[in-house]
Symmetry: C2
Amino acid sequence: MYVVIMAGGRGTRFWPRSRTTKPKQLLDIVGEQTMIQQTVERVLPIAAQANILIVTHKNQVDALKQQLPDIPPENIIAEPLGRNTAPCICLAAAIIQKKAPEAVMAVLPADHYIGDPSGYCECILKAVQAAKNRHALVTIGIRPDRPETGYGYIEFAQNSGLETEEIYRVVSYHEKPDTEKANQYLSRGNYLWNSGMFVWPVATILQNIERFLPNIYREVTDASGAFGTSGFTAILTQAYEKIESISIDYGVMEKTESVLTFEGDFGWNDIGSWSAIYDISKKDKNGNVLSGDVIPVDSRELFVYNKHKLTAVVGLANVVVVETDDALLICSKDRVQDVRNVVDVLEKRGDYEYL
Amino acid sequence: MYVVIMAGGRGTRFWPRSRTTKPKQLLDIVGEQTMIQQTVERVLPIAAQANILIVTHKNQVDALKQQLPDIPPENIIAEPLGRNTAPCICLAAAIIQKKAPEAVMAVLPADHYIGDPSGYCECILKAVQAAKNRHALVTIGIRPDRPETGYGYIEFAQNSGLETEEIYRVVSYHEKPDTEKANQYLSRGNYLWNSGMFVWPVATILQNIERFLPNIYREVTDASGAFGTSGFTAILTQAYEKIESISIDYGVMEKTESVLTFEGDFGWNDIGSWSAIYDISKKDKNGNVLSGDVIPVDSRELFVYNKHKLTAVVGLANVVVVETDDALLICSKDRVQDVRNVVDVLEKRGDYEYL
């Protein structure tokens, strides 16, 4: 069994802490370790360091090697440019197939929060068994506990004869719903959150990529032949420049007939914004989450992160405050998605020092 | 004519910019000059530098000398401890009387905003004439343009036979009113804002202090005999330790029969809080007042002062943000009076570095 951790994200919604050279997965944004360190540590009970591959943007390779000294350096695979998840997964699968053609691989995002790590490992192991036994593409869906509008949903078939294994046939995928639809999904009971975690035999995913994304399959598997040689970077760059940018969900999972979903329930959160960190953090009696020297006066439900200086907040509620060496963000908690607009403004201004 | 500028205030409501050693009057909180520099410059058309006295706390003398190099150093008078305005005015009057017994003195706060400086000087000159001619205590009242609840009011007698000179007899003083009362005061037409500016012959104010505050009169005038000698500081400290802390309004003005008020209308604001600075500042099209590198995203009616780092504000309205080297304040604009609560917390914590 191999674990492939996808660590290519930029995380603009965590500005000003996340920057181009230090995105969310490289930050200690939840807890004391960085997100990628937590992700690696979480799978160590079920995967050897040697069997953990990390695919990332070339700019992040040095930082990853520094943060993960126990991962063999050759397991950190650099993409020359971002092409979404399908090429990334194709590359990792092709590299694994050469070493272990019969392997099952679990594809895991680098920057999600897991409240129950042992439940998570247990779920992955069961999904690995199911994928192996059935030569199937398995996606891990999360049992929803609220009508969340920020996630995509997986609709599965009940009574498909597989229920004894907690595994279901996927019927269709649904984009982020409005509140009304989210309530329907929750009450119907056969909808799961799409977590972006997958388990499959490398042979099965490669067959599917070959079928639905033949151009990506050809270019990326060809280039993967040079993995481990000095020419690899140049060859992979040429290949990536020719291929389209497409997600594995859209390019393969939504097109193939026989996807199974495994139901997980292990306190998952994709930590998509500052308010998600607030949500999973321990609050004080006023509902505040405060890091640093903070004096709240008649204020509640704040998220404040300021390691640099004393912060006093007077008469405010539901506000996010994040200060770094060079920048300060103050944001209404229900507008955290719009932090990316600040990054847009900085890009337009050409202010690369803040990006 | 002498001008006495009272510069003893602490200005806790301007934390984190104002500190014990650098209160509001020493800050460039409105415009490019400090408040005290603006106050001095404003009266130069009607008073010689040699005739301008500044009474302050001993801790602020050095900073004042630095900020006001053209004021004779002996004109900056140090109080050993704060005893409110009555002892301060008594001391200044006694010092002036020795040099010029016939002088009229104008008492002006160091830290108020004046929108129309020439109207202000004109008003003071007229008040000086009236005070001289009538040997009267004259207080300058401000014609209200809104039902302000943040100021005290002076009620004056209409048809007192003095109207031709824009001067009226004071009937009584009123504390800060509630909104209903403030509306009544505004509609009645014979209420003015109490600005804390006074004009009187030194002989007249000293007679009144002698009558209503005999202990202060005796101790302070006795000590003033040592002014200019090396023993002055020690003698004044002894005197101040014996006297009560009391305002000239409460100690004299509200007790004496014959106070006149001169009506001024020169864009006065006592700048009592961060929101007062917002009110008098030029706004952008979203009603924002921004100093420093600020990126507002869908935000309005902000007051942001941050010379240190980039500040992004997302989806907020009516918020005050002030950052200094060592501290950050974020405050709802309608709660700016409660900034002093932050100072209280710091005092309780014994965090003198932030005070």
